[in-house]
Point group: C2
Chain length 337, copies 2
Amino acid sequence: MKIYTIRDVAKLAGVSVTTVSRVLNHRPDVNAATREKVERVMAECNFVGNASARSLKQLDGDVAALILRGRSNIFLSQLAEMMLQFAGETGVSFLLETIDEKADEFQTALRLTHEKRARGFIFVGSRLDGRAQVLRGLEAPLVFATVPARELELPRVASVAVDDRRMGRLAMETLIQAGHRRIAVFGGRRDQGDALAERYLGAREACETAGVPFDESRYVETRFSLSDAYGAARAFFPTRGDTTAVFAMSDLVAMGVIRALKDMGKSVPEDVSVFGFDGIEMGKYFLPSLTTIAQPQEEIARKSVEVLLDMMNGGEGRHVTLPAALIRRESVAAPRK
Amino acid sequence: MKIYTIRDVAKLAGVSVTTVSRVLNHRPDVNAATREKVERVMAECNFVGNASARSLKQLDGDVAALILRGRSNIFLSQLAEMMLQFAGETGVSFLLETIDEKADEFQTALRLTHEKRARGFIFVGSRLDGRAQVLRGLEAPLVFATVPARELELPRVASVAVDDRRMGRLAMETLIQAGHRRIAVFGGRRDQGDALAERYLGAREACETAGVPFDESRYVETRFSLSDAYGAARAFFPTRGDTTAVFAMSDLVAMGVIRALKDMGKSVPEDVSVFGFDGIEMGKYFLPSLTTIAQPQEEIARKSVEVLLDMMNGGEGRHVTLPAALIRRESVAAPRK
DNA sequence: TACAGCTATGGAACCGTTTCCGATACCGTT
DNA sequence: AACGGTATCGGAAACGGTTCCATAGCTGTA
């Protein structure tokens, strides 16, 4: 099966390559009869333009990249997928680059700038620890999705996220108001300037406001996977069995914790309440269903590409804060008397 | 920030573009001193070659594509991710194309053949209904992952899957041996020549062998998502409340069904047993944990790219059958007396 | 009739890289 | 001294599109 080039089509249709190119790009300055003839030929030989050739010539061709670290976090993967979908409805083409745990987003972005001529980036669920200076190296517009990047005041940098601090506070408040006092927090590292650090600060604030001492020794650092969360919970509870509630910073972590509690003979929420974060679909079906903070996933996706596209057209960077919602379900209840 | 081309580097290093290209491609015929000089210049200007230009010139450049339909099926998405990872360890570059529910894999493959010069394809979780003739149009090697494509005897077509029929039979046998007689099957359409049809046939065989009549009216067609499965179960049980077991053809479906049963006041496995399929990680943590058929996800991924690469090097197409494992957990028990 | 203005089309340069084909210099042999 | 062989390098032609610029034909108006 021969692969036809634009030159083949031109020859077969008896026109110049320029004309074929015009037809291909739906330009107005082509005679209707000519257009139809060219289109017929293209259909006959299953012609599809070569993407490399096109993008080689069109250096200004709008290309944007999504940079996602790891595939483990369902919430973030889905977010990226949604962005891809929304982006598909616009003119610019988006490419998704999945990098592994230890890769550097900024290096990746730099590489994509050259390799694929990417002119705009969305970092999904990135971290910010001390990389602001590297950022200056890139002059392409950046959007941080689900990352609180407000404080880094850089010209072409935007962010789209919920108010993680407020939501972390709300989660903790909810547990405190339910009557809990000995509350464990299962989160990630607190020093990387990301959403998790914010949620942590929010949780602390809630304790301080309520006059409940925040117990650092009940902060458990875990990676966001079922097995890690499960393992962390199995290690934690035998020595801290008086804990009556857990604030897990991701629904996946919450589920791992719940399973661990069950395996240790405790029931949720009767013995221990578990509060999640993110609002993934599974949370509704899990037994018990998860009380959680639901992030507006679709809105975050839509807004992120909107803001990036705007910046790529010369707009200013904005920091968008979207509302999240507390969803009360089965996994949180009052502690036992 | 200027984007340097190979010509810029050549000028700065005082050599020809040819030499720079040679350094770039680690060819041996470059003097060590020259190589070092060029490399220093490249490092200084953060040079990264333009991918479009490279692939435009290298028409023989080995590119393969993964075609995945939908993002909803966690098992298949993970499978694709793993393939990408294994592919990364080889020379050829793989690109992942996610298409939506209604798109045609073969049209997509055809397009990628032209647009991106893809020379080999892996269809993950595809269907085969009557498309064999379109297949002949593509002359690139094809691998069907998790699809029983044995019967289509085409020269450059391979498949990697478990023995779905046998596993469907095993699942059903397991339920029958546990004492169940009124068993519902939650699957997809049975007429698309895919893995689901095979599992269905296997389930029927098990019934026939055991002398238990297979009740077609207990076959429930559902899409493989939590919400669809949940809805289907809510619609099914009120009229078929005597059903004591469910064979769900995907773990996600199993979870949706379990939640629905719980919401209807039934407990699993005491009132109804639920059997899953795939062996996703969540199945281990769900409450109750899922009795299921675990597909060797990593092996399927690894073998698929291996077979494709082999075919792209001129090898023959093979049909690989991998062993799956029955995992007994909590969601299946004997029926109530 | 002459000329401006518009439509439809083609020629050819160009995008950044790879690669074929030579060219040069230097080595050891005879 | 002549020569074959090797190591190292450069020139220039691709690859398949897009686009600037030129041109030819046609229309309407002064």
